[in-house]
């Protein structure tokens, strides 16, 4: 073979192309998890179709440094199990890379690149010989390619077996054996026919200790449970559905009395308008309540979000973003609800938003959302996305802060109401932070007042008076200013920073990257690669709206700030411009919005392009 070979130990991307509904999802998960168990950092991303059975689906695994568990843009190893997408998959392999296919059937002669290595394994043939039942045959073909990959990439069969045991548990223990047989079928075949392991392979290491593999919908739900949310209302929508599934499972286990009584209520609403209404009702009553949805759901919630803002009712909304507009691509990722969430509703409305970058932060921010919602008596968004929410990420273990106490905000107790001298006034500003006191229904007659989305005075009474109306609106604006110093500050990293006498001193370079949410790792990897090419960038990841002082300073300090986000219209950039009024021309958009997670390669090339053009002109 004259062609070159990709030669990356513990540093490559593998992609599996299959058809959905065939059981490949669990095979792929097994593959990823076994690499993780071998102590090697790994990322797994699932690109699945919006149907139940029979359409193309891909799973992308990247093995690399812990800091770059993101799409690079390369594919070094393709497992091409889907005839329909074979041509495209075949074309996608990086030169020198590998392609494994099921050689039971002949493949199209035109599809035969000579710059990659093609590995045929007669999976169907072998599996069909070994298994009889049709459904089993379909499932086992997937397990067999895991076996083949184990041979080629040098995965540990003992690890695979252990994982199978854990998956099936005691109840289905007898399934382990046939699965291991299928693994062996693939494994033995490649060992016999190919030079195993390949130059691209996995080598045991110790780089995953203290980490877990988990998706961000699960961690957000876990956060909600531990933050003490007791009412969850939702309407099923991809990719948010697993939030409520996980919440339900956690509560079922940890939130029942000994008699099996539930200390929570989960309401499957008739639609998203009802879901947010239920959350508002529960929040008004004083419970911690939340909903999970995606773009179309947020659109439907607009009217109630405006109500929540104006009546100052706590509510937590998890928006797991997917590709818009409209139904868009429900199983693909995007960050295109940034503006919708921040300003949802008619009239002068604005909402606190937190932007997690990965499942670990989704856990932390989920808890923060409940605290902020009650502290500021307003709807608060956790703006996540499909990539964070549904893909399995390797992240540092979640930690519990023992000092955590829920911040229930300014709620008057029966005792304080008892000793109130005058009538209770709902919308005052006693502490000059814009945050009024509230009372809960049923607690004390002195706390009674009428919550209304129509004009109200600071006393909480109905008004159509110009000055009374404005007074309340102005206080709310002040409240939002206060919020800016309570939300998570951005993560900022400078290329040049020194510690002098315990104080950090920084010297900003010319250029900065600014990103949000799941853009994190791809931008970091791009930054790292660019540095190797001699180009330095400082880094800022915005973690909340309203934007904090630090974001403003970061922009001010740099000549150009590349704003990297996953939507077409540069929504984050637009918000930064509108809210912070930075110098003209300073913010430069790097956009990515085709539904796949951001790849570091894309960021890198866009920046290089921009700077080259700027130099040339």
């Amino acid at each position: 073979m004259s062609k070159s070979s990709v030669n990356h130990v513990n540093d490559f991307t593998l992609k599996v192309a299959t058809v959905n509904g065939t059981g490949s999802a669990s095979a792929n998960s097994l593959l990823m998890k076994s690499i993780f168990r071998m102590g090697v950092p790994v990322m797994g991303k699932n690109y699945f179709p919006s149907n139940i059975q029979g359409l193309p689906t891909w799973y992308e695994i990247r093995v690399t440094d812990p800091g770059h568990l993101t799409r690079s843009g390369d594919v070094h190893f393709m497992v091409a199990m889907n005839a329909e997408t074979f041509a495209k998959d075949h074309a996608e392999v990086t030169p020198g890379g590998y392609l494994l296919y099921d050689s039971t059937w002949p493949r199209n002669r035109d599809l035969n690149r000579d710059d990659i290595h093609i590995i045929g394994v007669p999976l169907a043939e072998m599996v069909n010989q070994h298994f009889v039942e049709p459904r089993t045959r379909i499932l086992m073909k997937n397990v067999a390619y895991v076996g083949a990959l184990a041979g080629l990439l040098d995965l540990d069969l003992a690890v695979i077996e252990q994982l199978l045991k854990e998956t099936f548990g005691e109840r289905k223990a007898k399934l382990v054996k046939p699965n291991m047989e299928a693994v062996r079928i693939g494994y033995d075949y490649v060992l016999e026919h190919y030079d195993c392991p390949l130059p691209v392979r996995v080598e045991r290491a110790d780089m995953t200790r203290g980490h877990v593999v988990v998706d961000g919908n699960t961690t957000a739900a876990l956060g909600a449970m531990l933050a003490g949310a007791t009412v969850g209302a939702w309407y099923p929508i991809t990719p948010s559905t697993s939030v409520m599934d996980a919440f339900s499972a956690f509560c079922g286990k940890y939130r029942k009395t000994e008699e099996g009584e539930r200390e929570y209520v989960i309401l499957q609403a008739e639609d998203e308008l009802a879901a947010i209404g239920m959350v508002m009702g529960a929040g008004w009553m004083g419970a911690r309540a939340f909903t999970a949805t995606s773009g179309p759901g947020i659109s439907l919630m607009n009217e109630f979000l405006s109500f929540g803002y104006y009546t100052e009712t706590p509510a937590v909304i998890f928006d797991i973003q997917r590709v818009g507009p409209s139904t868009g691509m429900p199983t693909r990722t995007q960050q295109s609800d940034l503006m919708e969430c921040a300003y949802a509703g008619h009239g002068d409305t604005r909402h606190i938003c937190l932007y997690p970058a990965d499942p670990a932060e989704a856990f932390d921010f989920s808890i923060r959302c409940f605290d902020l919602a009650e502290h500021f008596q307003t709807p608060v968004f956790l703006v996540s996305d499909l990539d964070i929410g549904m893909n399995e990420w390797m992240v540092p273990e979640l930690k519990w802060d023992e000092s955590y106490r829920p911040d229930r905000g300014k709620v008057l107790s029966a005792e304080s109401l008892e000793s109130l001298s005058g009538p209770f006034r709902r919308y005052m500003d006693p502490d000059k932070d814009g945050v009024p006191f509230r009372t809960l229904p049923g607690v004390h007659p002195a706390g009674a007042f009428f919550t209304r989305g129509s004009g109200h005075s600071k006393h909480g009474t109905y008004t159509e008076d110009a000055a009374e109306y404005q007074e309340v609106m102005d206080r709310k604006a002040r409240k939002f200013l206060t919020a800016a110093s309570h939300v998570p500050a951005p993560v900022i990293e400078y290329c040049n920073s020194t510690e002098v006498g315990g104080k950090k001193r920084v010297r900003p370079v010319r250029y900065g990257f600014l990103t949000v949410g799941s853009g994190d790792l791809a931008v970091r990897e791009a930054r790292h690669n660019l540095k190797e090419k001699g180009m330095e960038f400082d880094y800022c990841r915005v973690r909340a709206f309203p934007f904090t002082r630090e974001v403003e300073d970061f922009i001010a300090e740099h000549e150009i700030v590349f704003v990297v986000e996953q939507n077409r219209d540069g929504q984050l950039k637009g918000m930064l411009l509108a809210e912070l009024e930075p110098e003209a021309g300073k913010l430069v958009s790097i956009l990515h919005y085709n539904g796949l997670p951001l790849a570091s390669m894309h960021v890198e090339s866009e920046v290089v392009d921009h700077l080259r053009k700027a130099e040339a002109s």
Binding site: V213, G277, G281, P441
Partner: protein
């Protein structure tokens, strides 16, 4: 205006209920509705019903949507928390609030536009969930607040103020509620307080969703000739089918009812409703029969009133959820959080 509370001078001569409250303690702000509006009569009936039931005013949660009718919770029980949802979406607010705290009395007031047009989906699904609340539709056949458009409860042939005739079939809240499985369905008339007060009391005591459709004429836009929701038309076609006497727990059922004509039904809290049939062909505990009865009278254009359907055995939201007895409002940080987190994460390695 609602913030102009009526003077709450102490009328030592007014009778007091067992909590020591006079009926004044159940009043609210001054009504801003049109003089003569049916909605104000319903407000009065609600005040009387709550006072007679010895309900602690602050243990009621008042809820409504948007419309003239939906303004009324500001006019009663000023010691109770109230919430005006957005238009048509009160049922979801009520469901969420009730989910969080099952120990209050939930009292929803809506209009025919609010419940049968924009809010029809939420209305139907709150019934499905059997949310424990009293839900009153103040039904005038028009959109009062937006000045007189036909609502979805306007009858075929009914005429609007300026002459247009409605040709679309009405959505009848009573028939709809029964067919959706509502466990307490009644109809009243704002002009008949004697009938209405015990219905409200029974509805408040019923565990589950109690719906009362109250015909409540709009004097500004739908009280003319040709309207089928006017005072005159309602009085003419008014047909009480059944009379419900509400009898609090521990009170003796004093009257001797003629057999076959009266039927005492015990509610979950020990109180009783004695149903006195005026029409013997109506059995308010038989769903199919109740529907058939309604259909027959609908064809005769009669407005049948009273407690039309009752099922006392249905599971309410908390029963089917199997919720603990406590309210779900309190959140303390869990002492075992770290352990739980560790246990859960063991599966993620």
């Amino acid at each position: 205006m609602s913030f102009m509370k009526k003077p709450r001078a102490h009328h030592s001569d007014l009778p007091r209920n067992s909590l020591g409250y006079t009926i004044r303690d159940y009043e609210g702000g001054m009504s801003t509705l049109c003089a003569g509006c049916g909605h104000d009569s319903i407000t009065a009936a609600l005040i009387q019903a709550c006072w007679e039931l010895d309900i602690e005013p602050h243990r009621v949660a008042k809820m409504s949507g948007i419309g003239c009718s939906s303004k009324t919770p500001a006019y009663f029980l000023s010691q109770a928390h109230g919430i005006n949802a957005v238009h048509g979406r009160m049922p979801s607010i009520a469901t969420g609030a009730n989910a969080a705290n099952q120990h209050l009395h939930y009292l929803g007031v809506s209009g025919d536009g609010d419940s049968l047009s924009i809010g029809f989906g939420q209305f139907a699904h709150a019934i499905r969930r059997n949310v424990n609340m009293l839900y009153i539709i103040e039904n005038n056949g028009v959109y009062g607040l937006t000045k007189g458009q036909f609502s979805a409860s306007a009858d075929v042939g009914s005429r609007a103020k300026y002459g247009q005739e409605n040709e679309q079939p009405p959505i009848d809240p009573v028939l709809t509620a029964i067919s959706l499985g509502c466990t307490f369905v009644a109809r009243g008339f704002s002009g008949d307080k004697d009938q209405l007060v015990p219905l409200i009391q029974a509805g408040l005591r019923h565990r589950g969703f109690a719906m009362i459709d109250v015909i409540s004429p709009c004097v500004a836009f739908n009280d003319h000739e040709g309207s089928t929701k006017s005072y005159a038309h309602t009085r003419e076609y008014y047909h009480p089918a059944i009379h419900a006497d509400f009898i609090p727990p521990r009170e003796e059922i004093r009257t001797e009812y003629e057999k076959g004509k009266a039927m005492p039904v015990e509610l979950h809290d020990g109180s009783t409703i004695v149903l006195r049939k005026i029409d013997v062909d109506h059995d308010p505990t038989n769903r199919a029969g109740a529907i058939a009865y309604l259909e027959r009278h609908r064809e005769a254009r009669e407005i049948v009133t009273g407690l039309l359907y009752l099922e006392e055995e249905g599971k309410d939201l908390h029963a089917w959820n199997r919720t603990v007895g406590d309210s779900l409002v309190d959140t303390q940080s869990r002492s075992d959080a770290a352990a739980i987190l560790e246990e859960i994460q063991a599966g993620y390695r």
